[in-house]
């Protein structure tokens, strides 16, 4: 039925397309553009930190208000406009239908609408820089009453308050959440309903499981925040007092709401890239994923625990000390399922026949870096040490060591792995290796030393440390400068990727159908897959990870092969 689209005009084929592959690509491109914006913001404020008071090349002087706004929007963009669209939406849209052997999503039109709402939300966010007063500068957590002062402090005029940086930011986030909710509904319905014949639950590849678990976590944690965001917006533009302590409201309510969503959100971002690893590690080890069912049960367990840990962001916020102990226990408990998942990936390596191709390199880099991020989480999960480390650079370094590998290494692993499938072309492996090693080294250069800055008591979101005798001394300023130089190097190395992407896309070598000799369904389709994905539609006869079956001649047995011999 959808095949009519084949002959449609440019607009309906590439812009307002309902094809899941096109929408996935749109999300990916949009996420990459936003990553560029977020990276530019990071460059500006990192330069300011290393050389305070100096004019910044390609920007100029950075005042404290702009600094605060840049830090805030950098965080917002990287989580909501890069992590979410690239990991959840792009991978989900592209991979779910094709990996379960289907033609498209369950609701293609809703899918298209979801992307365009997302695009509008990105525009609203960018627009917030250009309203009087500039973008919101109170941290990505948007704690009221600071974020609820549009009405009280500035101008009790509806339109002035509505077109302020704060209101536009809240609006942009709300729109983005709606877009992701629509996507999430689509993912769940597609996976439940549109699987190919024989694709029973225990034959679904891990990444599809994980994206769906992420969608469920997202749906169940975001609801209260959507309501809460509207309340914050009304506080801003209409002057209600939901979060105003002088009017009977409670700013702590927002903290709980925000983190009730905000912490599960971390797992929403983490699970899809863990899924990417679960696809890549077995393929390049030529070995079945270690304890497939256990991995999925662990992810379900972590989904359950994820809504029980949020207040560990509020250990010093004045919550009840006994409650903090409860959340501290929850936090260390949730390390168990994730440690289990990572251990299963490592166990997959043992006894394999490992091919160190590019996607595998990114996957191993991911695990290595995430190890640092995860283990530094032990310090912060302990409520007592968190009294000291909270809101210092230790936290900054910690979550960059988790989210950077998660978003970027996860994405690049997926990109290098599926690029031949997306485009039918091969990437330049040599440039890819340069890209990996430069990214890996520069990333460590940016964030490793910042752990020490944090332990020295350097706190976050300060544009100028000269007031603080304790931390404006050596070697911490040198560490900041090293971090900044590495950050610039990190951003420049992404141009290698961009160059590789564009040249390989235009005149790369033609890729074969299944270059990595993988078992999952998407590789059994053509490269690039045609509209409708399969012809004929596959029937599934086995699990997703039948590598090196003892009775098989080849060391991989695709899911749609009925008999081994």
């Amino acid at each position: 039925m959808e095949n009519l689209h084949q002959n449609k005009s440019f607009w309906s084929k590439y812009v307002f397309s309902t094809d899941h592959k096109t929408i996935g690509t749109q999300y990916m491109i949009m996420g990459m553009i936003m990553a560029g914006v977020g990276g530019y913001l990071a460059y500006v404020f990192r330069y300011n930190l290393a050389f305070p008071g100096k004019s910044i090349p390609f920007y100029g002087m950075l005042g404290p208000q702009a600094y605060n706004a840049f830090v805030t929007i950098h965080g917002m963009i990287m989580v909501f406009w890069v992590g979410m669209p690239v990991l959840l939406s792009a991978l989900g849209n592209y991979l779910i239908p094709i990996m379960i052997g289907s033609d498209d999503m369950a609701f293609p039109t809703v899918n298209m609408l979801s992307f365009w709402i997302f695009a509008v939300s990105a525009l609203v966010l960018i627009a917030s820089f250009f309203v009087p007063g500039g973008a919101f500068g109170g941290g990505w957590t948007m704690y009221p009453p600071f974020s609820a002062q549009g009405y009280v402090n500035h101008n009790p005029n509806f339109f002035t308050a509505l077109f302020s940086g704060t209101s536009l930011l809240i609006l942009a986030v709300a729109l983005e959440l709606v877009a992701m909710l629509m996507g999430g509904i689509n993912f769940l319905v597609t996976t439940i309903n549109k699987r190919a014949k024989g694709m029973t639950p225990w034959r679904i590849p891990v990444i599809i499981w994980f994206i769906n678990i992420a969608a469920v976590i997202f749906m169940f944690s975001v609801g209260p925040l959507v309501a809460g965001a509207f309340m914050l917006l009304f506080d801003n533009v209409l002057g209600t007092g939901f979060y105003d302590p002088h009017r009977g409201g409670d700013p702590m309510l927002w903290e709980h709401l925000f983190w009730f969503f905000g912490h599960p959100e971390v797992y929403v971002l983490l699970l899809p890239s863990l899924g990417v690893l679960a696809e890549i590690v077995p393929v390049f080890s030529r070995k079945p994923l270690f304890a497939y069912k256990t991995v999925i049960y662990l992810a379900l367990l972590s989904a359950f625990l994820s809504v029980l840990v949020w207040a560990h962001h509020q250990f010093v916020a004045g919550i009840d000390p006994r409650m903090a102990t409860f959340f501290s226990i929850g936090t260390i408990l949730i390390s168990i399922p994730f440690a289990g998942i990572f251990l299963s990936y490592m166990a997959t390596l043992w006894g394999g026949s490992i091919r160190m191709k590019l996607p595998m390199l990114w996957a191993i880099g991911f695990i290595g870096l995430f190890l640092v991020g995860g283990l530094t989480g032990l310090f912060l999960g302990s409520n007592t040490f968190d009294i000291y480390a909270h809101d210092t650079y230790f936290v900054v370094a910690h979550f960059h060591y988790t989210l950077f590998p998660d978003i970027f290494f996860g994405f690049f692993a997926a990109f290098y792995y599926w690029f031949p499938k997306f485009t039918g072309k091969e990437l330049n492996a040599k440039l890819g290796k340069w890209h990996f090693w430069l990214t890996f080294i520069f990333f460590n250069g940016v964030f490793f030393l910042l752990f020490f800055n944090g332990l020295a008591g350097q706190h976050r979101r300060i544009n100028d440390y000269s007031s603080f005798s304790l931390i404006s001394r050596e070697p911490y300023q040198t560490f900041e400068q090293i971090a900044t130089v590495c950050a610039i190097g990190l951003m420049l190395s992404q141009f290698i990727f961009l160059y590789n992407f564009i040249t390989s896309f235009r005149k790369g070598k033609k890729a074969v159908k299944n270059p990595w000799e993988s078992t999952t369904l998407e590789w059994q389709s053509d490269s690039p897959p045609p509209h409708g994905n399969f012809n004929p539609y596959p029937e599934v006869h086995r699990g997703a990870y039948d590598y090196s079956l003892p009775e098989a001649k080849e060391d991989f047995t695709p899911q749609n092969v009925p008999n081994v011999n």
């Binding site: 404290p64 605060n68 109170g138 304890a291 004045g318 490592m346 166990a347 032990l378 007592t384």
Partner: protein, 234 residues
């Protein structure tokens, strides 16, 4: 170069010790994991030409290794929790009030710290309280005494951070939080705000001046004398 700033409070050492304890656990876990991750890349490289083994990980003899690792992780987690629990209770609960204690009020405002001294009667919230609201005035406290403070905020959320005492506490408008510290060494220590609070967030700095009891007595006496007018209106 030391990793932490100098510790001057009674409980700061416990937090530093906790850091080293967790670091030991984390380092052991890190190096074992790194070995488990990197060793097979060489040992089981496809260049050796050996076909991979078919291990699904569903047999007990295979998955027991993961179980051991997870149990070890869980145990070390609980060791950390057990060790830290007393410190947490110690810092977060205000000690029983004794005669040597000093009560002060700390009020955060965009963008400075306001200090409230209890006046000659030593009790906060009475009419002889002296409020000092100036960028140039630090919080004077005596050493070796429990300083119990009431933390408030007048506008947005701030956070009181005394790095040398390893103490941090958010100041929320509409709430009063009681916390305490006990500084053992005279000196001048940074107070900073660690919750982003607006344009001059990075200038929201003041000091704690820890003095000997005699110096402190001298300071409060002169402060209360200068504010006699307020006192007499009692």
């Amino acid at each position: 170069m030391t990793i932490f700033p100098e510790n001057v409070s009674t409980y700061g050492q416990e937090i530093d010790n906790l850091f080293w304890l967790i670091l030991v656990f984390a380092a052991i876990a890190f190096f074992i994991s790194l070995f488990v991750l990197l060793y097979p890349l060489i040992k089981y490289s496809s260049k050796n030409g050996k076909r991979a083994e078919y291990i699904t990980g569903e047999k007990r003899k295979h998955y027991k290794w993961i179980t051991y690792a997870l149990v070890a992780l869980l145990l070390s987690d609980f060791v950390i929790l057990y060790v830290e629990h007393d410190t947490w209770g110690n810092i977060e609960s205000v000690p029983a009030i004794s005669k040597n204690d000093v009560h002060v009020g700390i009020i955060a405002r965009q963008w400075n710290w306001i200090f409230v001294y209890p006046g000659p009667d030593g009790v906060l919230g009475t009419r002889d309280d002296v409020v000092i609201d100036s960028m140039n005035s630090s919080l004077h406290v005596p050493i070796n005494a429990n300083v119990i403070f009431e933390l408030r905020s007048t506008d947005v959320i701030h956070s009181f951070f005394l790095a040398n005492a390893r103490l941090k506490q958010d100041a929320l408008p509409g709430r009063t939080v009681m916390r305490w510290f006990n500084i053992t060494k005279p000196g001048k220590y940074d107070i900073s705000c660690t919750q982003i609070c607006g344009i001059l967030h990075s200038k929201m700095r003041n000091y704690v001046l820890a003095e000997t009891p005699e110096q402190y007595k001298h300071f409060t006496d002169s402060l209360y004398n200068a504010n006699k007018v307020v006192t007499s209106s009692k």
